[in-house]
Symmetry: D2
Subunit: 348 residues, 4 copies
């Protein structure tokens, strides 16, 4: 089969012909319909420090996917050939203390596809059957491929109650954009957002942000204080990882408020924990991945009930062998979600 492979320690990747994956007794083989690109994929593609320390080439990239089950191992009962599925990208051990206490999403022995073992930027992938999630037949492939990433948005948005609250969301990348949809569906009173990409701010505004501010141009602090009677916001949803956004976000949070942090600062930075967290009585939620499988059920319910429609999130579509263009679109900041379709290969 064709696959996008990181062949060596360094930037870039190659489209290669590789063997079809084998499945074990509890696995399923999935023929992929669509995949989508995550910020993590971009880090690995560009081979940043974190990637260099963790990823062992050669490896097939990618962890967001949907597809059809084409073969199942002999012990599999939860899915069958023909099922249309999305997949949880974290393969967990089910035996560590964290897995056994409802914290499988931060399992001590997690393997992430496309990071620790072969991923989904390919025509097929083998996965433990327990990692598969049934999609309704009518769901478009480009939406089904987003489910795993949508889970990050759901997990972050729902860590603290949003109902009737004023929210500041810092960072409008694809997960941030989906988070706006969740926050609206969850009854937020107003969602103020910041980003440095005007493309993304325009998209955020279209998705329902009450204010979409560019800190390179707008006096974010003053505008949000004005919008909140000088009180600040109830909840901070931090999706950027930028130290300045984090600091400003906590500064604008009212006393007793909550901050849910998904964005990853690349390294330590100066932070005024005393004044911004302790004295204000703030609760901070570090958000890793998606809860297994609570988040998936909530994500499903939000979509099936019509409260969230992910259609406007996908802004770019490519064939699999156009992966370099796809990564470039994702890197530009001028995109929502970027999807690739493995069955559409230019050369075939």
């Amino acid at each position: 089969m064709k696959a996008v492979v990181k062949t060596h320690a360094g930037a870039g990747a190659e489209l290669r012909e590789v063997p079809l994956p084998q499945i074990g007794a509890r696995d399923a083989l999935v023929k992929i319909r669509a995949v989508s690109i995550c910020g993590t994929d971009l880090h690995i593609f560009n081979w940043n420090n974190w990637s260099a320390g963790r990823v062992k080439p050669p490896i097939i990239l990618g962890h967001e996917l949907c597809g059809d089950v084409v073969e199942v191992g002999k012990d599999v009962t939860s899915v069958k050939v023909g099922d249309y599925i999305s997949a949880e990208s974290h393969i967990v051990c089910n035996t560590c203390d964290l897995c056994r206490t409802g914290n499988g999403h931060i399992c001590r022995n997690t393997q992430i596809i496309g990071v620790d073992r072969d991923g989904c930027f390919a025509e097929y992938i083998a996965l433990p059957a327990e990692n598969l999630w049934l999609d309704p037949p009518e769901m478009p492939a480009e939406i089904a491929s987003l489910q795993e990433n949508f889970g990050n948005a759901v997990h972050t948005a729902l860590a603290a109650p949003l109902i009737g609250r004023k929210i500041l969301m810092t960072g409008c990348g694809p997960v941030g954009l989906m988070t706006i949809l969740v926050a609206r569906a969850a009854g937020a009173r107003a969602i103020y957002v910041t980003d440095i990409s005007d493309y993304r701010l325009a998209l955020a505004k279209q998705l329902g942000a009450a204010l979409a501010l560019n800190p390179t141009r707008d006096d974010v602090k003053q505008i949000i204080l004005d919008a909140t009677n000088g009180e600040g916001v109830d909840v901070l949803l931090e999706m950027s990882g930028a130290p300045s956004a984090i600091r400003d976000g906590f500064d604008l949070l009212k006393k007793g408020g909550a901050a849910s942090l998904l964005g990853l600062p690349g390294k330590p930075f100066e932070f005024d924990l005393g004044n911004l967290v302790v004295m204000k009585g703030i609760t901070v939620y570090g958000i890793a991945g998606r809860r297994l499988w609570d988040t998936w059920y909530e994500a499903r319910g939000l979509q099936r009930g019509g409260a969230v429609d992910l259609t406007p999130i996908v802004t770019h579509r490519f064939k699999l062998d156009e992966f370099e263009k796809a990564f470039a679109a994702m890197a530009s900041g001028n995109s929502g979600k970027v999807v690739m379709i493995p069955s559409e290969l230019t050369e075939e």
Copy 2:
């Protein structure tokens, strides 16, 4: 001033001329713009057993109101003459253990206006300034008068998480109807409702109920199991107080689910606590009043952000001296919320 007074122990009430109320140092005098009728008012009007045991005539009826502050006591700083307000109907002591631990809504020494002291079906009312809630000038009076009762809906709906969940709501009186709006705003996946009034079921459907069932005609259990893949619902919102609705509601609740109970059965009834609560691992929330003032803030946020619009809830409007017609409309089952306007007296 004119007021609707329960003059003696027994059914009915009279429109009477009574003295203008006096205010103390921490009170405010409110000129009433609109009042609305609650099920409790109807019980007192009809003089049911509960009323006979608690209410001491003569007393002015009514506890849902909005109006304008026309005078304030010397120690009042939180409101001023000219403010447009709704009011919390429970006057609490602020000193008991419950008040001191965030449970003022179930204060040991509560006095409810229209129940334990003079109410608001009148041209004026005197209230502690701390019971007043500022409304925006543009809010219509008939909506402002509903705020207190809307708080019951908010308190009930938000006791358990609704996001992405399937909900069964039993009882579509005015509070139930408002609860549908809150549940939708809170991201519920589907809201199934039951009532014996087709008028109210039609209104419920219009407000967003996915299924509006009449147990006198529909096989509620089968229809809801069909709608939920045989699993039942995640959350029960019980607004009817009817033993059969309560039993069927718990029966349709899935294991591990939650039930929020606002409806008041008039007396003890046979209930299978073992099979319906213990064995299924259900969490039950008894809902009394509104949380002071958390619920009010949530109610405000839901309306100001546009997630909830109460306009369709008010179906009948009367002058104050038409109170008998107003009570009859409320008693008919063929109404949403019934509002009266004290300034519009037929005889003046």
Copy 3:
């Protein structure tokens, strides 16, 4: 091997020679050191209505055990031969919606050993390896056999916060007695208990109950109101299933309080849900089994840290072929926990 078998639909059981159980790829074979008798075992032994509707003879009784792993299936990695273990008695599917959302203890497809499949009142038992829990070598067998049942106490006691609170516990059977120990360890201010067995009340007092009352003799309501300045208790832990105890327990609960219900009333009964739950703003937790595996971790922590010592709970010990005496001791009401030792057979 020898096993206590319910051979037919009806009261009683027999000690029989049965084949050694076979294990599958993910199972372990356990040589049993000690077993203990639960109220459920007594119901099945006596063949009450519930048993008649659920249990299919022939079946080996019993679900509380400890022992040593003597053989493991080929896919087992979590335990090894020689491990000393207790066991969770609920064998769950890991694939239903409840299992996938942290509610495995109420799995839709649970099989309970000794109820739905062969149990542990025998020399050996085959169990899924994932159901085993490692015990420290120094833990006495009669304590290790109690771990599963101790989990019921931990789950019930910790559903609501007890710290600094006044508690009423109704029902001092073995689980209730263990619950006293948990409530003390959790920082309860005072634990008031009721039972109709003076033997158990004496044991409760010895374990730390502040008041141990017999409703056939004591004016429970008056005594507890006196002990709580007329306010009632913060938390009710209901372990009896007796309608009168449940009613009185809710009656003594203060407004805003919490009730955790483990006891199972055998059938529906008259209950004043309106006055006892709704109007008082009570939260009720139905408690089923133990959380997998949160409760087990908490149970372990409580014992290893020295906060709970289960030694005084075991009051009777028998050989396995004395099972009729053991059941009689359990039925008498004059016991704490009753343990049997399979390796000690009179006839060998």
Copy 4:
């Protein structure tokens, strides 16, 4: 009356004769039995940067006290002359959004005695009656004066569940020492502590710490990993404010764990929010003051039920005119709590 007064902007204080305070209609006058010194008092005494920016001399120092009500204003009903009381040091507005939603402890308009208005290192103090807390007559004055500060320990310890958990507490000042007592009472499995004062480590050990480590000498990280099977701790209670302790504490926290932060770093510092909070899925609770009045009720329950005995916390006692010696003892690091007795003036 005699009072310890900060007379000017700068280090030190003076014992002065000042007028007896006047009370308003809702206030009480308290004759002080005992006061205790807090770290904040020491900062003000030494006139650190924070003090210079907030405190306006002249002002009477001190905010931890107990005493007897000797006069009440005309509207006071909650206390009476002769009552023996402790006091909440935060005087709040009861009208801001935070006060109205159960967050009075972080009221927008808080005035702290001894910081923003005259404090209690004096013979008398005037306080709003609602700030007083009734003590039992048998409680020693030096214990009653600690109640406010004990509330910090209770608030911090109980933010996350401790039952059966392994805890790391960084910082063994007086509040830390009291926190050990609360954590034990709350069922913690093991409490590991760090401090740089061997005096305080010895006291911590005596109060029940499983390990008392000095980071200037011990390899804290290795020792705690060894004690926790390499897993780290479940909960971090941070009482020191030292950046190195905060970093090491988060580093030793297991994934999914919780950190409650009371210690105040004096300024921003480098912190690896991404790896230490986000990726690990940590929940962080900023702890300010004590919850009004939930914490006070829990504090009372813990003491009255015998779960906590504060007696060993008080290590030094002085007369009020020995305040310089008292501050020196507090500053030395070789103390638990330092108490002063206003009625015992050397010169009288």
